[in-house]
Symmetry: C2
Subunit: 333 residues, 2 copies
């Protein structure tokens, strides 16, 4: 296999996060699905934005957060995602390039505005996401550069992308190119309701050998196997004969392979401010470890450290240099 130009290529929604604090009463009054991600249209986004408190605006998007985290850990990284040529799109491109991630997906000149996610953070640090996909819906197969995919050691797919049909086709194209080129394909299940919507397709990807690495949190894993019992779900995942990385918030993570199950603790955190991006950054650390040929426990510890950094401040993009932080914690990459 030729040497790869990029350690990680992410494909996902290019979304600007608009983050505000809120209390549980606000979530109830607005009928929001606490802890989950709900798709909303532009009209609803405007109404909800008007009702929200003062906002902090930070570039986001699940797979984009992951590749930026990986870049902060010293990986070479690239991203494919769709924006519109508007102010939000320009900010987004600034941020992803400033994070040293290769990005060259052409912006849409017309159609819906750049996507945004209205995030409500409750005093317990939980985030409730309301996403207007906007331009993200129009990511298409034409946006998937074959050479870029072939040159990437790991191709990371965002489960949320199964919602817009054109974007799903684009990801399928990327997965096929990666498979033909002998590259690894990773999939994040994104959200338990997303798994509900695309369970058969996700299982199909896993069982056809298209996907070799799966990231899930507990509720996504439960949804995938339609069980309320964690051990049952883990046993099922183990039987898939892939590498599974399951995150469990403050209970740490569980690495699952056909050979066994390895539990790795979370990094202690003083105050949880905003859990937005915790899973994305765990994946970043884990993938960074994998690309540097670390053992699974070390990969999970780097993931836990990156997740710990992200939940101690607003926004899902790291504020610290994660590679330095890892080195300071005995996890030099």
């Amino acid at each position: 296999m030729p040497a790869s130009r990029f350690d990680v290529l992410g494909l996902g929604n290019a979304i600007v996060d608009v983050i505000s604090t809120a209390d549980d009463d606000f979530l109830a009054a607005e009928g929001l699905n606490k802890g989950g991600m709900t798709l909303i249209d532009e009209a609803r986004a405007e109404v909800l934005y008007k009702a929200m408190g003062p906002a902090t605006i930070v570039s986001g998007g699940s797979a984009a957060n992951t590749v930026i985290g990986a870049a902060s850990l010293g990986c070479t990284a690239a991203f494919i995602g769709k924006l519109k040529a508007d102010d939000a799109g320009a900010s987004y491109i600034h941020d992803i390039r400033a994070a040293k991630v290769d990005f060259s997906t052409p912006c849409a000149k017309d159609g819906p505005a750049s996507g945004r996610c209205l995030v409500l953070v409750t005093p317990d640090g939980q985030r409730t996401m309301n996403t207007f996909l906007g331009a993200c819906q129009n990511l298409s197969e034409a946006d998937v550069d074959e050479d870029l995919v072939k040159q990437s050691a790991i191709v990371y797919l965002e489960g949320y992308m199964w919602d817009p049909p054109a974007a799903k086709a684009a990801l399928a194209k990327a997965a096929k190119i990666a498979q033909a080129a002998g590259r690894q394909v990773a999939l994040t299940l994104s959200d338990s309701f997303c798994v509900d919507r695309y369970r058969d397709e996700f299982l199909g990807l896993i069982r056809s050998g298209m996907v070799q690495i799966v990231f899930a949190n507990e509720s996504e894993l439960h949804s995938l196997y339609q069980t309320a019992d964690f051990d049952t779900a883990v046993a099922q995942l183990r039987s898939e004969n892939i590498l599974g990385a399951v995150t469990r918030s403050e209970q740490g993570s569980v690495m699952v392979t056909k050979d066994g199950v390895l539990a790795v603790p979370a990094f202690p955190v003083e105050t949880v401010v905003d859990t937005t991006g915790a899973g994305d950054l765990f994946a970043a650390g884990f993938l960074a470890g994998l690309t540097k040929s670390k053992d699974l426990e070390t990969c999970a510890r780097i993931g836990a450290l990156a997740a710990a950094e992200i939940i101690q401040h607003i926004g899902a993009r790291p504020l610290a240099n994660l590679r330095q932080l890892a080195a300071q914690n005995g996890l030099a990459l």
Copy 2:
């Protein structure tokens, strides 16, 4: 004097903060004035933005931060400042109204874009600000609603506003209306270089009796009286026969009146993340205390607490409910 509709009315630049971390080498390479505020034009703003890291976008502006802090402490508050009718302007208006501050200055339909400040935060938590004033320059006397000024117990003027001539005229108008209506006028000196530019005008406002309360940090006070000695500067301030509130970072603050000098300690802070807005929030707490008829020491302690909240996260707008925070710290308002 008739009862006031608002406790505090602020007049200042309506600026969106675009905040990124940077190291001292970056500041040196870009020739930036560490810890200060430098005015830049739009072309320079674009070049500097391109060179900056990924950014967090939060509404800012010195006097606006102060009135929002006062509102979070339970004051009734209003703001006058100039935006353009663009995306940044719309976000700004959302944020200030969501913070329960009355705002109705009409947006400019053409001319320069809404103002923005490129803030570089170094690992020591210090902020270096580079401001493109944009639409702020076009605040004019017509934007100063006479009734609004008359109905406000304290009118708070931002020293930075002396830079754009039309805005300075608008603030002079507000000060005159307030004086005629028997309202208190407060002035923040904003920045030592700003004091260098307008020393005589600031002293004129103080000595003519137009301004009754002055906020300054150490370097601004030294600049005002052109001395490197703190005690000399304080003695001069004392002789002005006004109320002076001088902030000294981790050394706390000093309240200065003709009757004496009172030192009040800072609130202990575990980790300083970003000092942007520390002075603005001190003023917020101090003014909130004054409007609730607290003694000077209590006013300064509320100011210190609000400043402590703001320097523990990115951005100059409070993330906590400051009134609750004050009550939890024995400073119920």
